[in-house]
Structure formats: C-alpha cells, structure tokens
C-alpha cells in the first residue's frame, strides 16, 4: 500500500491554534490599552477604539462555567441534547462551546463549576473530507 501522509486537522475556528510542536490552544487578542480580550485577530479595539497594540495571547485551558443552556432542538442533523456553555477562562476571555462529560440535566450542572478545555477531532468533516480539530469544555476538579 502506498504511503499516505495523514493530513493534519484544520482548526474549527481561526482562534484555535495548532502549533507544529506543542499542544493546541485557544488564542485571544488583548488590547494593551484597555485590556479587552477578543477571539480572533482584529485591527481596532471595539472596546476603546485603539488602532494599535492589540496582541495575541494564549488563553488559559481552565476556567469556570458562566452560564449554559441545554439544547434539545437544534438544526437538522445535530445530535441533541447537548449543553451549550459560556465559559469564563482564567485570566480573561469568554468562550462558548459544548460542555461534555456531564449529564445534560439542570440538576447536574452548576453555575461557576470549574471546567477545562479539551481538544478533539470533530465528528464532522467538510465537503472535501478534511478533518477538523475542535475544542470542548469538561468538568474538572477545582
């Protein structure tokens, strides 16, 4: 069988960074002037209007669950139920993602619970068959 080099996965969103050497991470962009943190690159800060000094930072892999919803109806083909979570990362940055590793019932989910970011191959490919690396949140012990 001919040798086939597995293509490396693509990032699910531009702010998920996959270094050649090292672990994947989420990247924020922080305004030096006002400290606002954004997901994705930008030329101008929408918090203070600064046009320079917006620099990439590595967002923490740990944070806490800010709020969530348990989604029972979604677009066709999307597996439900799942937990849509808004997570405040330690050191700044708010990111939305699926919260996994927990029963999708309100009794099990607590505001403020400690969570961590994990990276996995997404269960979906694009039209050209490319694989994607995505992120999830899961509970962690405090």
């Amino acid at each position: 069988m001919a040798e086939e080099k597995a293509a490396s996965p693509l990032p699910v969103v531009p702010f998920l960074k996959i270094p050649d050497d090292g672990d994947p991470y989420l990247e924020g962009h922080k305004c030096k002037k006002c400290s606002a943190i954004f997901l994705g690159e930008r030329a101008v800060c929408s918090s203070c209007g600064a046009r320079e000094g917006i620099e990439p930072i590595r967002l923490a892999n740990k944070g806490e669950l800010y709020v969530y919803s348990i989604v029972h109806r979604s677009f066709p083909g999307v597996e439900v139920p799942y937990v849509s979570a808004v997570v405040d990362l330690d050191g700044g940055g708010t990111v939305k993602g699926n919260l996994i590793g927990i029963d999708p019932v309100p009794e099990k989910i607590e505001f403020g619970m400690p969570v961590e970011t994990v990276f996995k191959i997404a269960p979906r490919k694009d039209r050209d068959g490319n694989e994607y690396l995505t992120y999830y949140f899961q509970p962690r012990s405090a």
Partner: protein, 382 residues
Amino acid sequence: MSDVYILGTDMIKFGRFPDRTVPDLGAQAALMALDDAGLSINDMEALYCGNLMQSNAMVGQRILREIGQTGVPVVNCANACATGATAFREGWAAIKAGLYDLVLVVGVEQMGKAGLLGGGGGSTGIPTEGLLGSSTMPAVFAEAGQEHARKYGTTFEQFAKVSVKNHHHSTKNPKAMYQIETPLDKVMGAEMISYPNTKLMCSVNVDGSAAAVIASEKKARELGLGRAVKVSASVLTSDRFTERDLTMPDVNTCTREAAAKAYEMAGIGPEDVNLVELHDCFATAEILHYENLGLCKDGEAGRLIDDGEVAHGGRVPVNVSGGLLSKGHPLGATGVANIYEVTTHLRGEAGERQVVGAKVGLTHVIGLGSACAIHVLERVSD
C-alpha cells in the same frame, strides 16, 4: 423642535398568510391607519417602512404601488427585531427636524417557513452548531436568562409564568395570533427547546403588519388633538462593548441605556408608566427587561412575576397584548404593533383588555446584534 403626535394607528390580526404578499399585508395596515387618522395617502409627506426579510426589495415603494404612488420620499429600514420601531423613529426624527408635518410608518413581515430557531451557521469549514455550543435564538436567550438565574436564583417556573401570563392576556386580544389559556403545567411540560425555554416560551412566528400616521404638533392641533397620543420619547441604542457581548449577546446594557435616556427625554420615571409592551421574544427575556426598564429593582423580577404585579390589573401590566409569545412576532411589524397597542390603551379604546386610566405607556424592542428602541407615549386628552 416640534413635539410629535400619533394621529392614527392600526394593525392586522396576526396570523399565517402564505397566499398574500409583503406589500399587500403592509398596504392593508397602512390603509387602516390612514382611516383611523381620517386622512388619505395624499396627505402623507413621506413613508418610513420597516421590513426585515425583504430588506433589499423596496417594500415601501411596493406598498405605495398598492395604495397610491404619490412620489413622496420612501425610506426602507432594517434593524433586526427593532426594524419597525426604527422606522417609526426615523419618521419621528424627520418631523422633529421640521422636514414634514405628516408621515406614514408601516411595519410588515411575512415569516413564511422561517423556523423557530433563527440564526444559521457560518459558510466556511464545518458547521459549528452543536459543536461549539448553540447559536439558535432559543439557546442564546436561554443563556441570557440563565445569567439572571445565576445572579438571583430565578427558577424555570418563574420564567414559565411569563408565558402563562402573556398567553392569558391575549385571550382578550382579538388581533393576537392565539386566544388560548396556557396554564403553567402546559408551559413547563411543553417540548423543551433550549432549557429553560420550552416551545411555549418561544415567540410565535407569524405574518403581520401595523402602521401609524404621525404628525407635527402644528398639524396635530390643526386637525384636532381629540384621539391623538403624544410621543414623549424615542430612543435607539446599539450594543456598547461589554465584557462578554461578543460571545453572549448583551441585551441588558443597551436596554438600560435606552430606558434611562427615554425616561429623561419624557421627563418621567418608571413609576409613572401605566403599561409596557416589551420584547418577550423568549420568556427568559421578559424577566430581564423588568429590571432593565426599571419596573423593579435588580433581583426583584422573579418576585414581580410571582406577585402578579406585571399581570393585567397589577401595578404595571406588561404585554397585555399577549406579547411576542402569544400575539406573535412578525419581526418588522412588531415595533409598530407595540405602538398600536399602547396607543389604543392611552385612547381608552382597548375594550376588554383596557388598562383602566392609562396615561403613560412604554414600548421596547431588541434587535439582536444589537439594537434597542424605546418609545414613551402619553395621553393628551383628560
């Protein structure tokens, strides 16, 4: 600057009209509002038209093709769910500026097969819905409600009570989509869409239209102030940068800022308001806006719904029309329909659902993305 008065307003009964067209629905409300004002299209000096889903298709001009191509300026507005209110405000601003004495405002929407979920995925890569959380409207507003739950312990039951109330209100509104009592067990037991919003806690997609004829003070006095209602404040805000806004839309800050400006402009406080039509796109949202509009202190919204203060007959009835939850939510028409509702109460013409003695009313809409529009209306006659 001239004060601005509403001389005529009306709305069609909201429903599903797949066999009709957007201009046709808009034309119907326009003629009803003109009749209510006792004026004709020939009296109108401009048309401000709100429509979202055909915002690239000259809806205002197409309405005039149905009711009178008088050659007046037509402005077509789109501003998400604040579309109708934005059109109204543009007309208000033009009169304030002294450009016109009589302006027609129409809000119209045909929702067609638009789903309950709204939104949509990106175009590159793989769809992220259900992978990176949810961008569906029920989930977005569920998360906004959960922020209140996190801060104040607001319960699923309290959110559900909003829907019970608004469905009850619309049993008295013949122009609402539904006139069906919807008790708490039915609301809480309905299909869960995005916890804590069940299907009966999501606004109803309907087709609809509403219109208003507004006038300068000079013209209003000339024509007689009899049933006129004064527009005491018109405010539009967008979403200022807040900590999580780009991840989790902040519908609170833009509403609070609009409310503060509106009360100042009208020279009143929230305690002076006799009825409110606010943006209950989801039951969770209504709870937030009790506090955002200053109807109660922060943290008291749950108690407000528990104690019936926002129900018809309570201290400050909210959404006596049935709201978006039961009257229905035809996006571009909603803001103007709110103005119709409040005006009708201030005129003492709301029949069975009349808020007795109403002198001041407030309308509020939020277009996610975001735009917040607030209008304060005041009775003129005693």
